[in-house]
C-alpha cells in the first residue's frame, strides 16, 4: 500500500556560468537589486579570510569560515524580516552580519568574549556549537509566535551533519505536528568534518527527511543566492500565513577546512575541491551582474577597497577591545547572583587583587 509518494524539487536560477536557466523571481527582476547580495557575500568572504589569518597569527580562537557557502547564509538572511527570529549554527556569521551584528562582534565571540553575542536583533539566538541542538529552540520560539498569533517566523540553520541528529528530526516532527511558523535550512556542504555526505545517510537527499515529519522538503542550488533567497522567501510567506514549516536543503560545498583547527587535506584531495571552485557562488553572480551591465571592474575594485577598509577597522577595534574582568564569568550566570556563588566570585577577586 502506497501511503505516500514524493518528489524532491531542485531549484536553480543562475547556473555556474551566470546564465539564467529559468524566469527570475520578482525580487531579482532588476539586476541592480542583487548588488547588495553580491556585496554581502563578498564582504563575508573577505571577512572570513581575515578571521582565518587572525587565527593563524594567534589573534583569534578557532574559527569556522563559510567559504563556498556564502549564498546560503546571505540568501536566507536576506529573505527574513527584521522581526523574524534567526536561530543559527556556528557557520552562520553571514546571516548574523546581514541582520546587523557587527564584524567586531563576530571577532569578539570567536576571539573568546561573550560580549560578541549581545549585538543584533534582540530575539535572535547566538550561534549554536553543539550540532543540531538548536533545532528544538526554533520549535519553542515558533510555538511562542504561534501562541501570540503573530505574523512572523523563525529561520533555523544546520549543516548536513546535523540531519543525523535526533534533535533535528524531533524538531521537524513537532513543527509539522503543530504547523509552526519555522523554516529549517540545511546547508549541505557535503562534509561533516571528514565524513562525506554519502557516508552520513542512505537517504538520497537530506530534504526528504522532512517527508517523514509531514512537512514539505525541497532542494535548492545553494551556490545560487537567488534560489536560496527565493525558496526561503516562499517558505517564510507560508509560515507567516499559518501554513506550517518547511525544510530547504541548500546544496553547496565547503571549499575550506571545517574550522581553523581542521586540515581537510587529511581526508580529501585538492583536485576534488578544485572542481567545486567552478560552482562557487560569487563568481556566477558577478558574471550575471556584469552581463547585465550593472557591475564593472571599477565597481568591483571600489567595493573591495571599501570592504577591506571596513574589515581592517573592525580588526583594529577588536584588537583594542579590553578583556572582561575575570569576575565577569559570574556576573551573567543568574539574574541575581546566589550567595554561594558570590563567595566564589569574592575569592576570585581576592586572588586577582593579591597577584595584581
Amino acid at each position: 500500500m502506497a501511503v505516500a509518494t514524493f518528489e524532491i524539487g531542485f531549484t536553480r536560477f543562475l547556473d555556474r556560468s551566470g546564465e539564467v536557466v529559468q524566469p527570475l523571481p520578482a525580487f531579482a527582476s532588476e539586476a541592480k537589486a542583487l548588488i547588495p547580495l553580491y556585496r554581502s557575500m563578498t564582504r563575508l568572504r573577505m571577512f572570513d579570510a581575515k578571521a582565518v589569518a587572525l587565527q593563524r597569527t594567534g589573534r583569534l580562537g578557532t574559527y569556522a569560515a563559510a567559504l563556498g557557502e556564502e549564498a546560503v547564509t546571505i540568501g536566507l538572511a536576506s529573505a527574513m524580516a527584521a522581526d523574524d527570529v534567526l536561530v543559527p549554527a556556528f557557520r552562520d556569521q553571514g546571516a548574523q552580519l546581514w541582520r546587523g551584528v557587527g564584524l567586531v562582534d563576530i571577532l569578539a565571540y570567536w576571539g573568546g568574549d561573550e560580549r560578541g553575542s549581545v549585538a543584533g536583533p534582540s530575539e535572535d539566538f547566538p550561534v549554536c556549537v553543539p550540532i543540531g541542538t538548536h533545532f528544538p529552540h526554533a520549535v519553542g520560539v515558533a510555538l511562542a509566535i504561534k501562541l501570540r498569533r503573530q505574523s512572523r517566523a523563525v529561520v533555523c540553520i544546520g549543516g548536513d551533519g546535523a540531519t543525523s541528529k535526533g534533535d533535528v528530526y524531533e524538531a521537524m516532527n513537532m513543527a509539522g505536528l503543530w504547523q509552526l511558523p519555522v523554516v529549517f535550512v540545511v546547508s549541505n556542504n557535503q562534509w561533516a568534518i571528514s565524513v562525506p555526505r554519502q557516508r552520513q545517510t542512505a537517504a538520497a537527499t537530506l530534504a526528504q527527511k522532512a517527508i517523514a515529519a509531514g512537512i514539505p522538503g525541497e532542494q535548492v542550488d545553494g551556490n545560487d543566492v537567488i534560489a536560496v533567497r527565493h525558496a526561503v522567501d516562499e517558505a517564510l510567506a507560508a509560515a507567516r500565513a499559518g501554513r506550517g514549516p518547511r525544510l530547504i536543503e541548500a546544496v553547496t560545498y565547503r571549499l575550506g577546512d571545517h574550522t581553523t583547527s581542521d586540515d581537510a587535506t587529511r581526508y580529501r584531495d585538492d583536485a576534488t575541491v578544485s572542481t567545486h571552485w567552478a560552482e562557487e557562488p560569487l563568481v556566477r553572480l558577478r558574471r550575471y551582474l556584469t552581463a547585465q551591465g550593472v557591475w564593472t571592474k571599477e565597481d568591483e575594485e571600489a567595493m573591495q577597497v571599501a570592504l577591506a577598509a571596513e574589515i581592517e577597522k573592525a580588526v583594529a577595534d577588536y584588537l583594542a577591545l579590553p578583556p572582561p574582568a575575570p569576575q565577569d564569568m559570574f556576573d551573567h550566570l543568574f539574574a541575581v547572583l546566589p550567595a554561594d556563588l558570590k563567595a566564589q566570585r569574592d575569592t576570585l577577586a581576592e586572588e586577582e587583587a593579591l597577584h595584581a
Binding site: T133, A138, V139, V141, A335
Partner: protein, 326 residues
C-alpha cells in the same frame, strides 16, 4: 486549610502559577488529557486550555529544548519529564543551553523554565523509573536544583521555581507523592530557593538530608529521641546553590553529622556537603562525618529497592556511630 498530598501540592502550585501569570505553560508527555502519569497536572487542561497545557510527542531532548525556546521568548514553561530514568537526553539541553543562555548573551536572552521530574525509587516501578539523578544536575553551572520533601515545600518551592528568572530543575520524590497529607494554604506564597530548612531542632547530632530521605531521617530522630539522643534535622531542599549556613551552625553545636540521601554515594551532593564541612567546620567535629546513601550500584529492580534506599535503621546506626566519639 485543605489537606493535600505532595502531588496534590504540585498540582495546586501549577494552577496557582498559571492563574497568576498567563506566561506560565505546562508541557510534557501525557500532561494534558491524562493529567500526567502521576496526576500532577490533573485538571489543568480543562481549566487553562490546550494552548497553555499541552501534550508533546515523546522526545525528552526536545521537550527541554522547546522550553528553552519558549523561555527565551518570555514564556515560563514548566516541562515535565515523566520518569527520572528518561531525563538524560534532556540534560544536553539543560547543560548546553538552558543553563548558559543568559551568560552567553549577557542577559539579552534568558531562560526562566522549570524542568520537573520524579526522582528516586520506592514505588515498585519498572526498570529506569526509580533513579536518583540530582548529582548530574548539581554539577551544571547556571542551574538551580530543588528537591521538595513535603506538600508545603512542594507548593512553596515550585511557585518559587516558576517565578525564578533562571532555569530550575525540580525533582519530586514519587515515594512521597501520596505518602502523607498536610495542610497547605493556597495563598500563592513562595519559599526561598536559597535556604536550607531546619525541620527539627536538636543538640546531639545533625542529620542532613533532602527529598524522600527526609522521612527516614525524621523517623530516626524520633527513635533516637526515645533513647535520649536529640537529633537536629536539616532539609537541604535546594541542592544548588547550596546554603551551608544552617548546616555549619548546627554542626558547630552538635559536633556530629550524618548525611542521608538516596542517590548513589560517589560524587553526589552529600560528598559536597561533607567537603564543605571539612573546609569550614572541621574543628567543630568530634566524630567523622557519616554518609547513609544509595550504593554505587545500578538502582535495583523493585524486589531489592528497599535494600538500596537508606532505611531508618541505617540512619540510626550511623548516628549512634558518631556518638561513640566523645
Amino acid at each position: 486549610m485543605p489537606e493535600v498530598t505532595l502531588v496534590g501540592a504540585v498540582n495546586l502550585a501549577l494552577a496557582r502559577a498559571m492563574e497568576d501569570d498567563p506566561s506560565v505553560l505546562v508541557l510534557g508527555e501525557d500532561v494534558g488529557v491524562d493529567g500526567g502519569v502521576f496526576r500532577a497536572t490533573d485538571g489543568l487542561l480543562g481549566r487553562f486550555g490546550p494552548e497553555r497545557v499541552f501534550d508533546t510527542p515523546l522526545a525528552e531532548a526536545s521537550i527541554a529544548g522547546m522550553a528553552v525556546g519558549l523561555a527565551a521568548q518570555g514564556f515560563r514553561p514548566v516541562a515535565e519529564i515523566q520518569f527520572s530514568g528518561f531525563i538524560y537526553p534532556a540534560i544536553d539541553q539543560m547543560v548546553n543551553h538552558a543553563a548558559r543562555l543568559r551568560n552567553r548573551t549577557r542577559s539579552r536572552l534568558s531562560c526562566p523554565m522549570v524542568l520537573r521530574a520524579p526522582n528516586g525509587g520506592g514505588i515498585r516501578a519498572a526498570e529506569h523509573h526509580s533513579e536518583s539523578v540530582e548529582a548530574f544536575f548539581v554539577n551544571i553551572p547556571g542551574l538551580r536544583v530543588v528537591v521538595p520533601s513535603s506538600p508545603a515545600k512542594a507548593y512553596g518551592l515550585l511557585l518559587a521555581a516558576i517565578r525564578d528568572p533562571d532555569p530550575v530543575v525540580f525533582l519530586e520524590p514519587p515515594r512521597l507523592y501520596r505518602a502523607l497529607k498536610e495542610e497547605v494554604a493556597d495563598d500563592g506564597r513562595a519559599l526561598s530557593l536559597d535556604t536550607s530548612f531546619v525541620i527539627r531542632e536538636g543538640t546531639d547530632v545533625t542529620l542532613v538530608t533532602w527529598g524522600a530521605s527526609v522521612v527516614e531521617a525524621m523517623a530516626a530522630a524520633d527513635d533516637l529521641a526515645a533513647d535520649g539522643v536529640e537529633a537536629e534535622v536539616i532539609d537541604v531542599a535546594c541542592l544548588k546553590p547550596l546554603d551551608m549556613g544552617p548546616i555549619l551552625a548546627s554542626v558547630e553545636r552538635t559536633g556530629r553529622c550524618v548525611i542521608v540521601h538516596e542517590a548513589p554515594l560517589t560524587g553526589a551532593p552529600g560528598a559536597e556537603i561533607a567537603a564543605r564541612i571539612a573546609e569550614r567546620g572541621l574543628m567543630s567535629l568530634v566524630a567523622p562525618v557519616q554518609r547513609v546513601t544509595g550504593y554505587d550500584t545500578v538502582m535495583p529492580l523493585l524486589r531489592l529497592e528497599k535494600a538500596f534506599i537508606p532505611s531508618t535503621r541505617r540512619v540510626i546506626d550511623a548516628a549512634l556511630r558518631t556518638l561513640e566519639y566523645a
